[in-house]
């Protein structure tokens, strides 16, 4: 088995994803033709709903990295960035996008025509340091782009107080002023309300889809996690709601009919940390022994219900909470989330991806593993890998650990 392999998907709606992805990137390029200003921004913040409400085109360079991994572009991008002096110890997202923007961005070999050059960059203080540094590099690479320097407090979810929210709200207002001034467009409060309502609806659908994971056999596994694409790039649009509605309907039907992911589901597994974007097939690896990767942590950050009665405040809260939910800012909350998910989904064993490209998610895993074992008797393994750089992943080592783990779980369960 190679270090790079695509996942096997069972949902027909998940198989539609390729069209959804292509349509999004086509829209990004059409924006240039149609005169819609293009802004590059980090994911997991309330800027996306404001962009869509104003008829602007959001582009997510961080999200481009998994696309590059899926198309096998990362080695070439790494070569460029490492040639510029960027250390291999830096996050793979940073090295990939840096290499991409300094290489042949829109060349004939780049799938989906690549990313359109930004008119604006939403560069921020907040989130993780690599994500922040990516935007500092982009500011330097695209000096013509208008830059908005956002500031989002890095605070644990459980520690959020009024002053954090007030500051985030003031940043949202400043952002809107920047967009109105830069693009000569006005934000229509009605359209913002509509975008926030659609975003909330998408989150509701997402939660509903995830809730079907409690079924035995589970009708959906982590191998279908690519559907998250709409939660990253299409929040605040009907496209996301329509797609997720179709996914929800299909998953519900499979659950009602008792259709699982594999023939006989013996072991239910949980994945912690970002997937290996260049080897999503890893999620299917356990299936030969009757194991299904029922759930994972990373998707939780994309599901935050929004209070539509106060859209700006809702978006400020979303911006404050998203990163915190999946990072070491809030290990207590992450531990609670993992334990809750494992309880609800009836998990037998957990796989902790010790991710060289993501320290903020990796830090705290030891505490979460211990809590799983002590409080719920759920065993786990650690695999050393990297969500972007396949050079930091050994398939042979993974197989050895995974096989032994499955053997132990099957024996424990008497399956």
């Amino acid at each position: 088995m190679d270090t790079a392999r695509r996942s096997t998907k069972r949902l027909s709606t998940a198989k539609e994803l390729a069209q959804v992805v292509a349509a999004y990137y086509l829209e990004c390029h059409q924006a240039r033709v149609e005169g819609r200003p293009i802004g590059w921004m980090p994911p997991m913040n309330g800027g996306i709903e404001i962009f869509y409400a104003m008829g602007l085109q959001p582009v997510f360079p961080e999200n481009w990295s998994p696309v590059c991994a899926a198309f096998g572009l990362t080695p070439a991008n790494f070569e460029v960035s490492e040639g510029m002096g960027y250390s291999r110890d830096l996050c793979g997202y940073l090295r990939n996008i840096t290499g991409y923007v300094h290489g042949d961005m829109n060349g004939p070999s780049v799938p989906l025509s690549g990313l359109p050059v930004p008119d604006m960059i939403m560069s921020f203080g907040g989130g993780c340091i690599p994500a922040m540094k990516i935007f500092h590099i982009l500011e330097n690479r695209f000096p013509e782009a208008k830059v908005f320097r956002a500031d989002i407090p890095q605070v644990a979810v459980e520690d959020i107080r009024d002053h954090h929210v007030d500051y985030a709200v003031s940043e949202m207002h400043r952002f809107i002023e920047f967009l109105e001034r830069t693009t000569n467009r006005r934000l229509d409060p009605e359209k913002l309300h509509e975008a926030v309502a659609l975003s909330d609806e998408a989150c509701g659908l997402w939660d509903e889809i995830m809730s079907f994971r409690r079924f035995r056999p589970t009708p959906i596994s982590a191998a279908e996690i690519g559907i998250m694409f709409v939660m990253v790039t299409r929040q605040g649009t009907k496209t996301a709601v329509d797609f997720l509605t179709r996914v929800r309907d299909e998953v519900a039907e499979r659950a009602a009919s008792g259709i699982g992911v594999i023939g006989e589901e013996k072991i239910r597994l949980f994945w912690d940390n970002i997937p290996l974007w260049y080897n999503m097939g890893l999620f299917n690896y356990f299936e030969k022994a009757g194991g299904v990767m029922v759930a994972e942590t990373y998707s939780a950050a994309w599901s935050l219900r929004l209070d539509t009665s106060d859209p700006i405040r809702a978006l400020a809260l979303k911006s404050l909470m998203s990163y915190s939910l999946v990072s070491c800012l809030s290990i207590d909350r992450r531990r609670e989330m993992v334990l809750k998910a494992c309880r609800e989904y009836g998990i037998d064993g957990a796989v902790f991806h010790q991710n060289k490209s993501c320290v903020p998610i990796t830090l705290g895993q030891a505490d979460i593993r211990r809590a799983l074992a002590d409080e719920m008797g759920i065993p786990s393994i650690v695999i050393d890998a990297d969500h972007m750089d396949s050079r930091n992943f050994s398939m042979a080592q993974f197989q050895t650990r995974a096989d032994a783990f499955m053997e132990m779980l099957l024996e424990k369960k008497g399956a």
């Binding site: 510029m84 002096g85 960027y86 250390s87 110890d89 830096l90 996050c91 940073l94 921020f124 203080g125 907040g126 993780c128 340091i129 690599p130 540094k133 500092h136 590099i137 500011e139 330097n140 320097r149 500031d151 407090p153 890095q154 605070v155 644990a156 520690d159 107080r161 002053h163 954090h164 007030d166 500051y167 003031s170 940043e171 400043r174 990072s327 070491c328 800012l329 809030s330 290990i331 207590d332 010790q354 060289k356 320290v359 903020p360 990796t362 830090l363 705290g364 030891a366 505490d367």
Partner: protein
């Protein structure tokens, strides 16, 4: 290691710091640890507590790897190792200004594994505006609230006194650095490193008296003629004075630095005249920028200015391995230096025991290049 007479008290104190701090805690003074100089030590001190920068030191990490991955900086690995080994039982808790992801994560890992009363990460604004200053003030108020909840006693007057005290210390440290730039300081880079570490570790009142004595002794000394190729050392935390000794033994003379354990800890020395809280806020906003909180274009001109003012012929980047903020900025900063005709070299410190052979060879080559 040759220890010059005025340095003896500093070195002795560092050798005995754990015992000194345990005795301090036993006498009833609460000690609060921190990792990064963006932590508002003035408010900790103003609450009647002693802020102490937690040290990683040297050695091997073993137990730490049960809790943290291998790919975090050696400083944080060793801090965790020592914490698990009982080195910091004198601490009542940790307060940390948010600067890097690892420090924030380690505070939370600490919370789950090392007993204490307070674990607090203070989010700091990245922009400077009336709104961000108000936000910082609210964050400092929250920090004070948490410190008083574990027994601290705070008043605005006490913050004023803490500002004064730390301002005086920082002013004296800045004066020492200024003398070094002028070639009129007898102390070597390792000596200054030791002075800085003492600053982070011991009660500021005691440190001030030691610093005054040191400055007095140095005043009487005839300035020595500096030898070696003048360089500026830039990077994060350099705790091992031996690294500085090695650099100077290789033929360099460190005339300036941009280190977390150096200049960035005391520039600016104070905020402008205002209420004690506003003064502290202003100083925080005006800090000599760390890569974790700034963009390269903000830092590059300041760094170049330091190079020119100090007469450095080149820059040695001494970075902790895996330090994302510094590593991410390095290519852009190094390129700007190169374009300005200032050579630089990057050395990553990963070993638990100073610099490795390959780094030494590269530094020797760099020295030769600068001398040519």
């Amino acid at each position: 290691m040759k220890t010059r007479f005025p340095m003896v008290p500093f070195r002795e104190l560092l050798l005995n710091r754990r015992r000194v701090l345990e005795e301090t805690a036993a006498r009833g003074t609460k000690i609060v640890g921190y990792f990064c100089t963006y932590t508002p030590i003035e408010v900790i001190h103003a609450c009647g507590m002693l802020p102490v920068r937690i040290w990683g030191g040297s050695g091997q990490a073993e137990k730490a790897y049960n809790l943290v991955p291998t790919f975090i900086c050696p400083y944080m690995r060793l801090v965790m190792e020592k914490a698990l080994g009982g080195e910091f039982t004198f601490l009542s808790g940790i307060v940390q200004g948010y600067t890097c992801d690892v420090a924030c994560g380690v505070v939370n890992v600490w919370k789950g594994n090392i007993p204490g009363e307070l674990y607090h990460s203070l989010p700091l604004p990245y922009n400077d505006s009336p709104e961000s200053r108000a936000f910082l003030k609210a964050g400092l108020d929250e920090t004070i609230e948490k410190l008083t909840a574990i027994g601290g006693v705070y008043s605005e007057e006490s913050l004023g006194r803490s500002n004064e005290l730390y301002g005086k210390i920082r002013g004296m440290l800045a004066a020492l650095y200024e003398r070094r730039m002028q070639g009129a300081l007898e102390l070597c880079a390792a000596d200054l490193n030791v002075v800085m570490q003492a600053f982070f570790t011991i009660p500021p009142e005691l440190f001030l008296s030691m610093l005054e004595r040191l400055t007095g002794d140095l005043s009487a000394a005839v300035p020595g003629v500096r030898t070696g190729v003048p360089v500026l050392v830039s990077g994060g935390i350099v705790e091992d004075e031996g690294v500085m000794t090695l650099v100077e033994d290789l033929g360099f003379s460190v005339v300036a630095d941009d280190l977390c354990t150096g200049l960035r800890a005391f520039i600016p020395v104070s905020g402008p005249d205002a209420s004690p809280m506003d003064r502290l806020i202003a100083r925080t906003m005006m800090r000599f920028p760390c890569p974790s909180r700034s963009r390269p274009p903000q830092r590059i001109p300041l760094l170049m200015d330091l190079v020119r003012t100090s007469g450095a012929k080149g820059v040695i980047f001494l970075l902790q391995k895996f330090c994302t903020p510094h590593l991410a900025d390095h290519p852009m900063v190094a390129r700007a230096l190169r374009d300005a005709g200032i050579p630089s070299i990057l050395i990553e410190m990963d070993g638990d025991n100073g610099l490795e052979g390959q780094a030494v060879t590269r530094l020797e080559t760099f020295a030769g290049m600068l001398e040519a």
